[in-house]
């Protein structure tokens, strides 16, 4: 155990909790070198720290810690009904990180996890092993599903590892979803046409209010521009749409701003979807008392909370109509409730 010297620790990841068994993993060593002013705390199992009772998600959000661990079980999980598998016969999401650097008020991770800290499973090589048997068929993997992997790419290099792995796997498609403005690590990679970089955008007012610690709209747009110019497939997601008093102007304006900066012909799809959440996650979110998003009087059906049907229709009709002025129908995707 390395005692923390009395120099100032970094605000982010002031503590690295490291499972003893991954202490010598190259990724652990790399991170420990990068965070050489952080306190290193050796632990037996990540759950000792991540699953402690009586943590405060809200308090921890301002001082997140990083837990480096080995994943014993499955890295791959079947895609859920709340997400879009883009008609690939197999759709999994890979869970190599738990927790997110960012802090969005509407994020279901707050309801899912007892901690605002991040667990990074360093043995990504085992995820590739687990995936190989499926790759005789077209398979889509969302690599950034319960987190934003690109946000901490400079630390983890996991996106690069996925891209390197995907280069030689002809049936493997990747979706890398992000709010990050960090395109730099991908610059040195050759664009792979089976990879989609999916940027989530929100109006700046919504970012300021609900998407704490995330890059601004302008920064995200710059990253998108760099990615399309470098030849990557880019999808833009305006999802989740948060319904507010100013919805009628905020979100249509966002589509205008987007296509003012980005040539519509250079993006593969625009995905639109209003806020929705499973009721157990919403219940957990309410307990935190952090945001009005949790307390909106949603309609609940089949264990899923959504805006009332009239509002949901207004959201989609307004935004689809706006999007159609830039894109043809086939390139606009929407999330809609199953009736």
């Amino acid at each position: 155990m390395k005692p923390l010297s009395p120099t100032s620790p970094p605000k982010l990841y002031s503590h690295l909790y490291v499972e003893k068994r991954v202490l010598n993993h190259p990724q652990t060593r790399f991170i420990m070198e990068k965070f050489d002013r952080s306190a290193i705390v050796l632990i037996d199992h990540y759950k000792e720290v991540f699953n402690r009772p009586n943590q405060s998600f809200a308090a921890q959000s301002d001082s997140k810690k990083l837990i480096l661990a080995h994943k014993d079980g499955k890295f791959l999980h079947e895609g859920s009904q709340y997400s879009d598998g883009f008609e690939h016969p197999q759709f999994f999401y890979a869970s190599s990180i738990m927790g997110c650097l960012y802090d969005c008020d509407y994020c279901y991770l707050q309801g899912l996890y007892p901690s605002a800290n991040t667990v990074l499973f360093v043995n990504l090589e085992d995820a590739f092993e687990q995936l190989l048997p499926y790759l005789d068929k077209d398979t889509l993997i969302a690599t950034s599903y319960d987190t934003d992997t690109l946000a901490i790419e400079s630390l983890t290099r996991q996106t690069l590892l996925w891209l390197e792995f995907a280069e030689n796997q002809k049936n493997l498609h990747l979706e890398i979803r992000t709010k990050s403005a960090n395109f730099k690590p991908l610059k040195k990679m050759k664009p792979n046409q089976r990879v989609i970089l999916a940027w989530t955008l929100s109006p700046q007012k919504i970012i300021d209010r609900y998407e704490h610690a995330t890059p601004s709209l302008a920064q995200r747009l710059r990253a998108i521009k760099e990615a399309v110019e470098a030849g990557w497939n880019v999808r833009v997601c305006i999802d989740p749409v948060i319904y507010t008093d100013a919805f009628e102007t905020l979100y249509p304006d966002l589509i205008d701003i987007l296509f003012h900066h980005i040539d519509p012909s250079t993006i593969t799809h625009l995905t639109l979807g209003s806020f929705r959440m499973s009721t157990p996650h919403l219940r957990a979110l309410k307990k935190l008392h952090r945001s009005d998003v949790a307390f909106y009087p949603y309609e609940v059906s089949d264990d899923m909370a959504t805006y009332p049907e009239t509002i949901e229709s207004t959201i989609l009709e307004t935004l689809v109509a706006k999007a159609r002025t830039y894109l043809n129908e086939e390139r606009i995707r929407t999330w809609q409730r199953q009736s």
Binding site: S14, S56, A59, F295
Partner: protein, 262 residues
Amino acid sequence: MIYLTCALDAEARPLIEHYRLKRDYTLPYTFYKGDGILLLVTGIGRSNAMLALSALMGYRIPTKDDLLINIGICGAPDTYRLGEALLIHQIMDTDRSYYPDILYPHPLRETGLMCVDTPVSSPCLSPVDMESGGIFQAASRFLKLHQMAFIKIVSDHFEPHKVTKEGAIHLVKSHIHTLESLIASLQKVSSDPSLFTPEEMEKIGEWKTHFTVSQGVKLEEALFYFRLKIPKRPLPFPTDPIPTSKRERSTLLETFIAHLTA
């Protein structure tokens, strides 16, 4: 409220003097009270500490704005300076470890601490004490993990026979400023803020008595929505008396909720 705990009377003495604490005989422990401070001397050893802490937590159940600080001396390897104050980020107890959350900047050296059963006179890899495990276990039932801190001042390099009462008093006294600045840092950690004032809470409680439990939950959620959306707006409770007829009451509630969530 700040809960201070020490194992020994000698460790408590400088705190009693500094904070001008008064002895209180409510608990069967050496217990002191002062302005916003409670101080408990737990006695030596894990189980004594756990029992004493449980009594203290039962005496006054902590709120989310309270803090608990365990301060005392410890034995440590000679890589730690005698008299150095350490902030503990890991307590290694007999069969498991505990982790107080350190969510604030501070100038202290951080380290793990082993909680042992008897004084240690042979070299050990980390600092040792005899109470931290018991204190953490009892306190973590009542406090969030960032509301607790453990400060240990190095009294010896595994030579417990050299530790004197005067020495312990001196060590704690020399770190009163350390304690005060740690308290200031801990108090800055944003906890879950109270969304409603006590008067508003009272009004909400009073309103809820007129409705069913599920109506009360809906009302409360609508009030949370209203408050979180624009924090400074006063709650717009209707001024008309609450109707006696069940149907009219339900209509009033629905209208009010619609107004709150509009």
